[in-house]
């Protein structure tokens, strides 16, 4: 018995010592990188690693792009792979930053995650390259201003957007007695009436089926495109203050609340694509969906409606950008690869291969031949010039989660009035945006 106690004490002391040593190590902090080291890294050339999306079309484009680069640069080879599997790309990238094994470039960096990666010290400001700021401005124009961080620097190269538009199923519209070639979807009022007709006619179970889950990014595919269209392209925050607790914001919320109340939209999550599976008559999606719906749905598109009919309405960009990560040793090569991958030639290949819109200021004219041959993409090219982005502010994810929770509570499940929910969320978001 005594031996047992002694052994227990020995083990306990050992455990405490190990934990203590661990905590001491935690408190020690890490050494800082020097400015001269950072400067030399931006000019260093050599092999680099990159990650790209696991979208099959982007994988093909990525492989071709890397092969072209590698053939011309034998001393600066690019080792490319898909982003490792995880619940989301942002979690994987965030973990890689912390572990110090992030690749040089990620061709799928979500703008919403950039403030967090920046705070982690995981990103290289692209302004640190002599031609960095000018290259971005020349390629993307004024739209690039949305991607500047609060410190005035640019940590992401605006790469491609997926302007969200309203897809509708022509066959379902015809079945409901609606004109599939000239659908009445110019205003939010018409959208609501059309939704009622679709469901009441029995043509489809749900007029539209936006995901009702609590994920912070879901507002980008229900509230935000309609809000952008309704408010002339106002972002969720302006000058550090929330904007959605307004008439325009509440109009959108009321419209969706009506959809849920009248069972025109389901409150359950759908495992799959409700539009492609014929469970919903309309869907909010970007040009990526064209390939996905091919052969499955006889679809048409219209711009996301505002309260008034308009020809130049805004929408959400659903952009993915390219960012350079601070663990990159050969940043000189990484910057050259960034420019190569966003050259006119490679952007053209991206457009034709994936259908996604390169964020170039003269997109429609630069690739006029492509859009003439593929008129289905013209709507997206037109919208691409009027996209709004998620605000580039600290606590970005927390801000969107706060909004989503208020939306779920009031709009989807009706447990609180829209006025109260939006006021509460607005106040909390203002506080979050003010934090550094």
């Amino acid at each position: 018995m005594k031996h047992g106690k002694i052994s227990s004490r020995v083990l306990s002391l050992t455990a405490i010592a190990v934990i203590g040593a661990g905590l001491a190590a935690c408190g020690g902090g890490a050494s800082s990188s020097t400015a001269s080291g950072a400067n030399s890294a931006t000019t260093a050339k050599g092999p680099i690693k990159i990650w790209y999306s696991n979208n099959e079309f982007e994988v093909k484009w990525g492989k071709d792009m890397v092969a072209s680069w590698n053939a011309a640069h034998p001393d600066q080879q690019v080792d490319a792979q898909e982003i490792p599997a995880g619940k989301s790309s942002e979690e994987v990238i965030g973990a890689a930053i912390t572990a110090g094994n992030a690749p040089c470039l990620v061709f799928n960096t979500a703008p919403v995650a950039v403030p967090q990666f920046q705070k982690q010290g995981g990103l290289v400001p692209l302004d640190s390259f002599p031609d960095g700021a000018q290259y971005i401005k020349d390629r993307t124009g004024d739209l690039a201003n949305q991607y500047k961080s609060s410190d005035g620097k640019t940590y992401q190269l605006p790469w491609k957007s997926n302007p969200v538009v309203l897809f509708y199923n022509k066959d379902v519209f015809a079945k409901a007695g609606l004109d599939p070639e000239k659908p009445k979807l110019a205003t939010q009022s018409e959208f609501l009436d059309t939704a009622r007709t679709l469901v009441k006619s029995g043509a489809v179970a749900n007029a539209v089926w936006p995901s009702p889950t609590s994920d912070f990014y879901q507002p980008w595919f229900d509230f935000y495109p309609f809000y952008a269209a309704n408010s002339g392209g106002t972002t969720l925050l302006k000058d550090g203050k929330s904007t959605f607790d307004s008439d325009q914001g509440k109009q959108v919320a009321t419209m969706f609340q009506t959809l849920y109340k009248e069972n025109l939209a389901s409150k359950e999550a759908y495992k799959g694509d409700s539009f492609a599976d014929g469970k919903a008559g309309m869907s909010l999606a970007g040009p990526w969906a064209v390939a996905a719906y091919k052969g499955k749905v006889n679809w048409g598109t219209v711009p996301v409606p505002g309260t008034q009919a308009q020809t130049d309405g805004s929408t959400f960009s659903d952009a993915k950008n390219i960012a350079m990560y601070s663990s990159c040793k050969n940043q000189g090569t990484a910057w050259e690869v960034m420019k190569f991958a966003t050259s006119k030639e490679q952007d053209g290949k991206l457009l034709s291969g994936t259908g996604q819109m390169p964020m170039r200021k003269d997109l429609a004219t630069t690739y006029a031949d492509y859009f003439n041959q593929n008129p289905a993409y013209k709507t997206f090219a037109d919208e691409a010039a009027r996209t709004v982005e998620v605000p580039n502010v600290s606590n970005s994810v927390q801000i969107w989660q706060t909004f989503r929770d208020a939306w779920s509570k009031s709009v989807i499940f009706g447990n609180q009035s829209i006025d109260d929910a939006f006021k509460g969320a607005s106040d909390k978001i203002n506080q979050l945006a003010a934090q550094k």
């Binding site: 203590g20 935690c26 601070s326």
Partner: protein
Amino acid sequence: MSLRSAGGPATGDTAGRTVDQRQAPRKRKNFLGRQPLGLLFSAPYVIFVLAVLAYPLGYAVYISFHQFFFTAPGVQVDRPFVGLDNYISVLSDPEVQRSFANIGVFLIINVPLTVGLSLVLANALNRVTRLKTFFRVSYYVPYVTASVAVVGVWLFLFQQDGLVNSILGPLAPNPSWLTNSWLAMPTVALYVTWKQLGFFILLYLAALQNIPDELYESASVDGGNKWVQFWNITVPGVRSASVLVTLLATITGANLFTEPYLLTGGGGPDGASTSPVFLMYQKGILQGNPDVAAALGVVLVIGVLLIALIQKRLVGGKED
């Protein structure tokens, strides 16, 4: 009694050294225990526990008392000590309070149901003579199948136009099971009970093998029916297994994450099935606030330990 006193008074240094030299191996033997080789054999597991459990737990406690966020290696940031700020932030957060209430509902349904059903089914399986393996495998399959795969079956059963509502017809709840604030968490609790039942049945089956048949024969001779035998022999006979099942069900239940994440779209409807671990994931991983998430984790660990202690006292009974 020392060797010195047993052998009479020491007469010089030489004698003293001899005694010390004799004592040294015994002290070492005491220090290492009666079976030093045992330490060697247990060392891998001890190291594993220290590295995988103790160190992260200690680190989490450290994080919870500091303003902390993860950074890239080499990035120097201030991580000031903030005392109980993170704990105050956690405990005053209505979402966190609700998540603990949700998990309370879950445990109240899941734990008794798990203990009761697994004991009854294990007892029945123990008496089955035909198709014994088939039944055992049938109960165990959901446990070893990934939640992601099994959840699809439950969605098919419990969604708005699912099988259960089709059978219930006009009696089907509105809103439906998974979008109903009152029914979402109980549905999740039922799902978890069903999924984990196989594992707990196995624990009880093992415990049942330790009950001598003579006890049942004696009870039978004395006129005790099956119920009397079950209540007076089986239940007390598997008490230690009941403690284990209760504790494991509580611990796994308190760590609920995957099921509400998949079944109710991330803790829906409107947070009715949000769990503390889901909030830890949201705050720590998605929102980049590991300090608040760590404080929540520590509160959860303390809560689970307290509940487990109470359960052990209640279920353990006289065995303690």
